[in-house]
């Protein structure tokens, strides 16, 4: 069949110069960086006190289309596994009940961190002027949106498919009374999004992600597997594949300011404050969730902490940044002291305050007590015998009329809350490094548990005005506070939190709490 002259001309031309059928992603990335967009006047709310270099590179060099294709494949695998295979084998009901409770805390809290990381990374995008560096932050913003949804989905899945949904669903409603919430907001919210964008990066990327991501997102998958949970590794390992990009962004953030004179003035101070802020909460809370929120143990938290926080991060990762003037935080040594006992101290208090939570706690079994004593010699004499006493007094039984909080009052061991980290501590009954420091400013008293937090408060007192539950509810009876703080299940009378995970055990109700007549008091008033 004859063809037109035009078609013949086009065919002949293509025979000589073939039209490109595809363009390599890296080629597109190089082309995009050649745009001379003017970012010089960019800034976030507060201009960072550092100057970020305009020629900073990033390590992943992904274009958005390539990124989206990769992430959609990961999502298909993850949601496919959850909705098909894991649902059909009833995986959510095979999780050990203790670990089921831990995931109420871990995934709900991490969701808050991921959500704030969206904004924190957005601030960095606003502050940076180098196109490549911005491209790295863009990828992270998209990651954080994905992770927020993933964490929310973990709790949705557990609530829908698994055991004891209360607490997996709508945990936030207990945020005013739960003693772990305010400290979590300090690290996951305030630390990631308040003030100087580079300081936020140090909190989020250099400490939160490079230091605590391994213990939080990798170690949690090992503990989950050991305790029959196949959902968490499916989701959290998918999250972890993105975290490398975030660590690289943190590294490049430091590289971008390394030649700025401001770095020598501020960087190590910001790093030390960021590290102390993050570790003050994560060290005890993660250790507590892993060891006390599981039945089957993986390894002592102190070993995990030593390997990933002290050696890998404090030594190797920060060591690599040494050529840019970065030093290991001065507070790392104090943190190491805390890593041995702090989570044991915190669980003692968390169990004592169980009615204010949104998850169930349970006392260590005899088998677990042996494990603690073997790995933390001296554990029984300090903690184990107290748990034996509480158990003997019927702390799990609603008819006993005994709350462990009473034990602290009877034995004159007041519980304080650190003003800066919002982490509870009991200085007269602890093996960790906490020491009581109380300062009065304009007639109001503030308690602190360490020198680093005290200095942060003395330097910026208006940043740490958060009231704690003892100040907020002083003089109020516990059952009233629980009802007001939405700590009840859908029947309107049974507490979300419980002091045991026994399926056949009786559940505590508001009436059981009310008859004990436990009234909040502020220990600072007594000083």
């Amino acid at each position: 069949m004859a063809i037109s002259a035009a078609t013949k001309a086009a065919t002949d031309a293509l025979a000589v110069n073939r039209a490109p059928v595809s363009v390599g992603a890296q080629e597109v990335h190089r082309w995009m960086q050649s745009f001379t967009w003017d970012f010089e006047k960019n800034r976030t709310k507060y201009s960072t006190k550092y100057k970020m270099a305009n020629d900073t590179k990033e390590q992943f060099k992904l274009i958005a289309k390539e990124y989206a294709r990769m992430e959609s494949v990961k999502d298909e695998r993850q949601f496919g596994s959850l909705q098909d295979v894991l649902t059909r084998v009833d995986a959510a009901n095979r999780v050990h009940p203790k670990w089921n409770e831990s995931m109420k805390v871990i995934s709900n809290f991490l969701e808050v961190g991921e959500y704030n990381a969206i904004a924190g990374t957005g601030m960095l995008w606003d502050s940076a002027t180098a196109p490549e560096q911005k491209n790295g932050y863009l990828g992270q913003v998209l990651d954080e949106i994905r992770h927020t949804n993933q964490c929310g989905y973990v709790n949705y899945y557990f609530a829908k498919q698994g055991q004891d949904a209360a607490g997996h669903n709508d945990a936030r409603r207990t945020r005013a009374i739960g003693p772990l919430w305010k400290g979590m907001k300090r690290v996951f919210s305030d630390g990631f999004i308040s003030g100087d964008a580079v300081e936020c990066s140090i909190n989020l990327q250099l400490v939160g992600e490079a230091c605590f991501t391994n213990p939080l997102i990798v170690a949690v998958t090992e503990w989950a597997c050991a305790n029959g949970d196949e959902m968490t590794p499916t989701v959290f390992l998918s999250i972890e594949t993105d975290e490398l990009r975030h660590m690289a962004n943190g590294y490049q953030t430091v590289v971008s300011i390394a030649n700025d004179a401001a770095a020598s003035k501020y960087l190590n101070t910001d790093l030390n404050n960021a590290f102390w802020t993050q570790q003050k909460y994560f060290t005890p809370v993660l250790g507590m969730m892993f060891e006390y929120g599981s039945h089957f143990k993986v390894e002592p938290w102190v070993k995990t902490w030593n390997r990933w926080v002290y050696e890998d991060w404090g030594g190797i990762w920060i060591g690599r940044l040494g050529k840019y003037g970065v030093q290991s935080p001065a507070s790392l040594r104090d943190a190491k002291k805390d890593a041995y006992w702090a989570h044991h101290d915190l669980f003692l208090l968390a169990y004592a305050l169980w009615p204010t939570g949104f998850f169930r706690l349970s006392l260590p079994t005899a088998q677990e007590a042996e494990w603690y004593e073997a790995n933390y010699p001296g554990w029984y004499d300090m903690y184990g015998k107290v748990y034996d006493e509480w158990r003997a007094r019927g702390c799990e039984d609603p008819n006993s009329g005994f709350l462990p909080l009473q034990w602290f009052i009877e034995n004159n061991h007041p519980i304080y809350i650190d003003r800066v980290s919002q982490v509870p501590f009991c200085p007269s009954y602890c093996k960790g490094a906490s020491t009581l420091r109380v300062l009065e400013f304009n007639g109001k008293k503030h308690s602190f548990s360490d020198q680093w937090g005290e200095r942060m408060w003395l330097s910026e007192p208006e940043r740490y005005e958060c009231q704690n539950i003892f100040e907020q509810y002083e003089g109020r009876e516990l059952s009233e506070v629980i009802a007001e703080g939405h700590g009840l299940r859908s029947d309107g009378k049974t507490l979300i939190s419980q002091p045991h995970t026994n399926k056949d055990g009786k559940l505590w109700t508001l009436d059981d709490i009310k008859k004990i007549n436990c009234v909040f008091s502020d220990p600072l008033k007594a000083l």
Binding site: K45, Y46, S47, K49, G195, D196, K265, Y266, T269, D270, P427, T435, L436, R437, V438, L439, E440, F441, N442, G443, K444, K445, Q451, E454, R455, L458, S459, E460, P461, E462, E465, Q467, E471, Q472, Y473, G475, R476, E477, E480, E484, L527
Partner: protein, 165 residues
């Protein structure tokens, strides 16, 4: 016992706020309230659990009165006390520019917020001024952060040591 969200203290203040009829009254009321109950330098803690909620309610009322009394130009350029917003902002910025002491800078910034936080100053002036003041304060606070030992820092801050264990 009344709960934390609905109590006689809040009711008492809601009634006081309802009595504000002019912008001049509202401005004076808000200014006095902030000075007494809101400042980080305050010495009266009687409203410690309720001041934030009450301040919000006063601000709501002042914003309504402002909308009723101000024309479009005033809404964008004039503080509720009647002063030119740019002039007020410039004074604070000049004071901060001349300041090299972190405690003085802290006073300038906190007092600016107490005096000007919207609806007192139009947001188009307030936010940018607040940003510039905050940026300088952060730099001053982070310089020589560990220069003073804690004992000295406590004295400079003016705190009383209740207990140190």
């Amino acid at each position: 016992m009344p709960n934390i969200h609905d109590n006689p203290t809040r009711t008492e203040w809601v009634n006081k706020i309802a009595g504000l009829k002019t912008l001049a009254q509202g401005h004076a009321f808000l200014k006095d309230f902030r000075a007494k109950y809101v400042s980080v330098f305050k010495t009266d803690f009687s409203l410690e659990l309720d001041w934030l909620w009450i301040e919000l309610k006063i601000e709501e009322k002042v914003a309504v009165l402002k909308q009723a009394e101000f024309n479009d130009h005033q809404l964008l350029n004039v503080c509720t006390c009647g002063t030119d917003a740019q002039k007020v902002a410039n004074e604070s910025l000049a004071a901060m520019a001349a300041c090299e002491d972190m405690y003085e800078a802290e006073r300038i910034h906190i007092n600016f917020r107490l005096a000007c936080k919207p609806p007192v100053m139009p947001v188009n002036f307030f936010l940018d001024t607040d940003r510039q003041l905050g940026t300088k304060l952060m730099e001053l606070r982070n310089t020589d952060y560990y220069a003073l030992p804690l004992e000295e820092l406590r004295k400079v801050r003016g705190v009383r040591v209740v207990t140190l264990q």
